[in-house]
Symmetry: C2
Subunit: 236 residues, 2 copies
């Protein structure tokens, strides 16, 4: 099957979690909105999808007749179909639970530069961003890192659910990678206390298909329109 991914073409954003899963599996897919006329196709899909399953927002995955939105939901689907998750019910739920916790962290990272409104510019909410980012650096990021470090210790490693990489590992890699771009000083401090998390990032980035993808033009560079933004003043 040829999958179709619909996501904003200018940024990694939440689409990147889907891209990483498709790339790791060597899946046949088209990044539709990055093709000529593709952004128009995405806008039409958002108006007419399904027609009974309209998405609230991208990313959207078309898989045959299915039109699936919500990043974690897409991962749930791809986990089953691309062997990127355990097969047992307990294992599937555990991988999904981890993905949802990563999704919570992603919201908190986004909100360090958009604590007031996603429709406003960062420049319109800089004082609030400074306060939120301070809370993120001091309280929230360490809490999430402690959690994932604990999960990796309990799993026996090297991956979150044990010996095999799942979509949750790919997603945690992406968050660590993005934090290194957006919060280099914070990432350095956290890395020293969370060796299993650092090891997971290195292992995922060295997986052959991921390594090839990261070097390719398919990987959009980080930039200041996405979730992870290098605003030095927010890094403390």
């Amino acid at each position: 099957m040829r999958y179709e991914l619909y996501y904003w073409p200018q940024i990694q954003g939440r689409g990147e979690f889907v891209r990483l899963a498709l790339e790791e599996a060597g899946a046949d897919y088209v990044d539709v909105a990055r093709q000529p006329g593709g952004e128009d196709r995405m806008m039409r899909l958002m108006q007419a999808a399904g027609p009974k399953t309209p998405p609230f927002a991208p990313p959207i995955l078309k898989a045959g007749r299915l039109v699936i939105a919500q990043t974690a939901n897409i991962m749930l689907y791809l986990g089953d179909h691309l062997a990127l998750a355990p097969r047992s019910e307990a294992g599937r739920l555990w991988a999904h639970q981890l993905q949802l916790t990563i999704a919570d962290l992603v919201v908190e990272i986004h909100d360090t530069h958009h604590p007031i409104g996603s429709g406003l510019y960062y420049e319109e909410q800089k004082p609030e961003s400074a306060r939120r980012a301070d809370d993120f650096r001091v309280h929230r990021a360490p809490k999430f890192f402690d959690y994932f470090e604990r999960v990796l210790a309990v799993s026996g490693g090297p991956y979150l659910t044990g010996r095999r990489a799942t979509y949750a590992d790919l997603s945690l890699f992406q968050v660590i990678d993005g934090l290194r771009y957006a919060f280099p000083k914070l990432s350095g401090r956290l890395g020293r206390k969370h060796p299993h998390v650092v090891d997971l990032h290195a292992r995922v980035s060295a997986r052959p298909r991921i390594a090839a993808y990261l070097k390719s033009e398919r990987r959009i560079p980080f930039n200041e329109m996405g979730i992870f933004r290098a605003y030095e003043e927010l890094d403390g």
Copy 2:
């Protein structure tokens, strides 16, 4: 099977989505942290769960040997086991997609009174809350209501996925109910433009088991420690 729900005993919070599903299904469950000594049991579970699937935060559902966290993940499990979701893959994914969109809305509602830090008091972030709540009332709440109104129109109703109620309907009921408590003026305005959403709230609240639950002592009243807080100044 007797399910065990672990959640903060003082608030509805995210545990309420799980309670509504268990109640609608007439499931045998214990709200552990509301029993004598139960909060200690919850804290111990958070330290030792699984032991291979530690939760990041409550709510947590124990179902036999499974220890499941993340609200939407618990709903995914209960949807299958309590017949609160469609059985087909497409239907299961669609119900879950809706639940995840509701979860996004819940975060945005929470952040109207906690835009800076969940560990701070509201009183420590009142100016920021005023701005965030303004954006929520003007932009975000209408966008979500428009979306769910559209879903209900497309589904043929009366429920989000069609003729049968799913866990997503119970969750949307809870959000509408909470918004009426926290944002009565906004809810009045939105209700006039979103008749399907209003109808869904009425239908869910009239379902026999839900109606009995809402009148019971098992339903914790809304209060100013939870997600939905009646701060008049945030309602515009």
